[in-house]
């Protein structure tokens, strides 16, 4: 199914903006929209979307997750692709919806069909659209954190780097432990906030040691976690979603006011 999409001149993409971007950082949503359009997609943003259900699913509340998953499936079935600016939410839809409906053949089939055409934004742009940003300038050094779900569930690793490589003036610096979890883990960061704090403490030290101006990543949850810790520790590192940089919309970093 997704393979036919490869050939599509102008695919219809349903942008699943994710609940965090929707509520906390709309700029990432606008950046995703701009990038997808620049990559030749017709983008629609279904207004009925809320959340993929991951917080409930990872809390073990399968029954509470199912209505949310069904709603996402129904809402995004009509599109050629579902694209989300988050490896974690895309991973939820791609890897876990089919598991969620393991005992429900009808919904399982629909979940699998949607899973097949669901993509994380940066890998979608790089792999399926062959996109590279043009004339985007960002004079800065940056460290890149590989968020876990994108990295391990979806294999997002080279794509964001390839895209960022095309940004003029941007220099990527190595980050010690770039593939190590930042300690966010969704509800984990609230339920076990002390353990989460210890983990993000180590991450923040590594980010500071990298000595880059910017910290970039592909998942807002992790970025908020790291940005919040860096800010509390008094670090100067500015934190952006990679899409914001790629779209040339990296004006105000997370936590910076107008």
């Amino acid at each position: 199914m997704p393979e036919t999409g490869n050939a599509l001149e102008k695919p219809r993409v349903g942008l699943f903006v994710t609940c965090l971007v929707d509520s906390i950082r709309p700029n990432v949503g606008f950046a995703a929209l701009a990038l997808l359009e620049a990559a030749g997609c017709t983008v629609e943003i279904p207004l009925a979307q809320t959340c993929c259900g991951q917080p409930a699913y990872n809390s073990g509340a399968d029954d509470a997750t199912k209505p949310l998953a069904r709603a996402v499936i129904e809402t995004f079935e009509p599109y050629d692709y579902l694209v989300a600016p988050s490896g974690s939410c895309a991973g939820m839809i791609k890897a876990h919806y089919p598991e969620l409906f393991a005992d429900d053949p009808l919904w399982r089939e629909r979940a699998e069909k949607l899973a097949a055409k669901t993509h994380e934004l940066l890998s979608f742009l790089a792999d399926l659209r062959g996109f590279r940003p043009r004339n985007v300038l960002c004079k800065a050094t940056a460290a890149y954190h590989d968020s876990c779900s994108g990295l391990r569930e979806l294999g997002v690793k080279a794509q964001p780097r390839a895209l960022l490589d095309a940004v003029e003036g941007l220099e990527l610096r190595p980050l010690e432990g770039e593939e190590t979890c930042c300690g966010f883990g969704g509800t984990f960061s609230v339920k076990y906030s002390d353990i989460s704090a210890e983990i993000v403490g180590e991450k923040a030290r590594n980010v500071e040691a990298a000595g880059a101006d910017l910290l970039l990543g592909g998942d807002l949850g992790c970025l908020i976690n790291m940005a919040g810790k860096l800010r509390r520790d008094g670090a100067r590192t500015r934190v952006f979603h990679a899409a914001e940089v790629l779209a040339g919309m990296a004006d105000r970093a997370i936590g910076e006011e107008a």
Partner: protein, 467 residues
Amino acid sequence: MTAPAQDFHTRVEKALRDPQLKIALERTTGNARRKRAAAVAAWPDFEAARAAACAIKDHAIEHMATYLEMFENNARASGAQVHWARDAGEASRIVIDLCKASGAKVVTRSKSMLGEEIGLPHALAEAGLRRVETDLAEHIIQLAGETPSHIIWPAAHRTREDVAKLFDQYHHEKPEGHDVVSMVASARKELRADFFTAEVGISGANFLVAETGAICTITNEGNAELTTTPPRVHIVTAGIEKIVASTEHALQLTRLLVRSATGADLTQYTTFHCGPKRAGDRDGPEEFHIVLVDHGRTRMLAEMPEMLRCLRCGACLNHCVVYRAIGGHAYGGAYPGPMGSVLTPVFDGLEQSRDLPAACTLNGQCKQVCPVDIPLPTLLRHWRARSFRAGHEPKAVSLAITIWAFFAARPRLYRMAQAAALPALRLFAKGGWISSLPLGSGWTATRDFPKPPRQSFLAAIRKGATR
């Protein structure tokens, strides 16, 4: 294992307050991670090897009854006595009875996590037997009166400085220096005599080889052979999932097990024991007993068979951000880290260990490094779902999730609540950040939270905004 009295949160708090712990853990697990990475890099097809290792274990699990029977017959033919235990209590009792029957006063042990799992140290003490732990790390924690905090490095929570203090205090002859080599030499001297006074030596097993009836142990200090060869009686305790088809399969798995654990190609000693002393042998035990333990494994066979693949290599611990933050004791079970969080609910019951599967970011690094590709995050989530269904989760948490899901399933209501919440939250912000979040005080105790926007992305889109 009886669960420690304190609850998980208390143990975590204690661990996080201990700066020495963090240093010790980082030295051991950091070394382990680096060495494993180098070993894996030298095996270009490592991913395919993991899949092959997985298939070898799955094969044994699929034919478990056949292979266990074959093992038992071959072991008996070699002169070994095979005992079966359904649970921890039964297993300990069998071992204690064997010790008593042999008139033992001193028992040497070489490291075995199964022994910890079935509470053997405690049972031996209750039976009035002097227990001598001969593995260096087990010796250290025996002196300190502790339990293991890592399945490969039981004393991973102790720095070399801690060990020096313990040896200075307890060894008959103090170590000549406080460098690692002198301390190892000191332990060698301290334990030498006990190897020859013990009447019984107890070990574990890494594999039970069906084809030969031998048990395989993988060790590096030489203490294991000195524990199992001189005493008159050798008792092996092993979980039934250790069964493999053949010597070849055992060795093939060992290649991955050792690389994943310490980064070596093989440990110093890969040993196969098959029965007691034979005619003409100058050494070896006169009695050889194998205690095969179920303790939840047949239940796992039905419910989470993947976990029976576990080789106990410890890689998932070394690569776990939570383990590295809190150490092994905070988990409260015999096995810590990701694999422990899957196993402890099997052994100790889900209700009292529900925190373990929950206290995980599900980042998946454990699965990535596991030599037999156990889907640890999936299994942990499986426990969460069970716990939620059984009503073990704290009421406030399940209520919050239920209410949130109720709104999220109703976009209109969700929008309305969101439209009210965002401006309200903004009131807590100062200079773009919230430093004390209502209902999220745990988060903001150590980090800030960005000030949310006036309106959500979707609200802006509805109004026709483009950026």
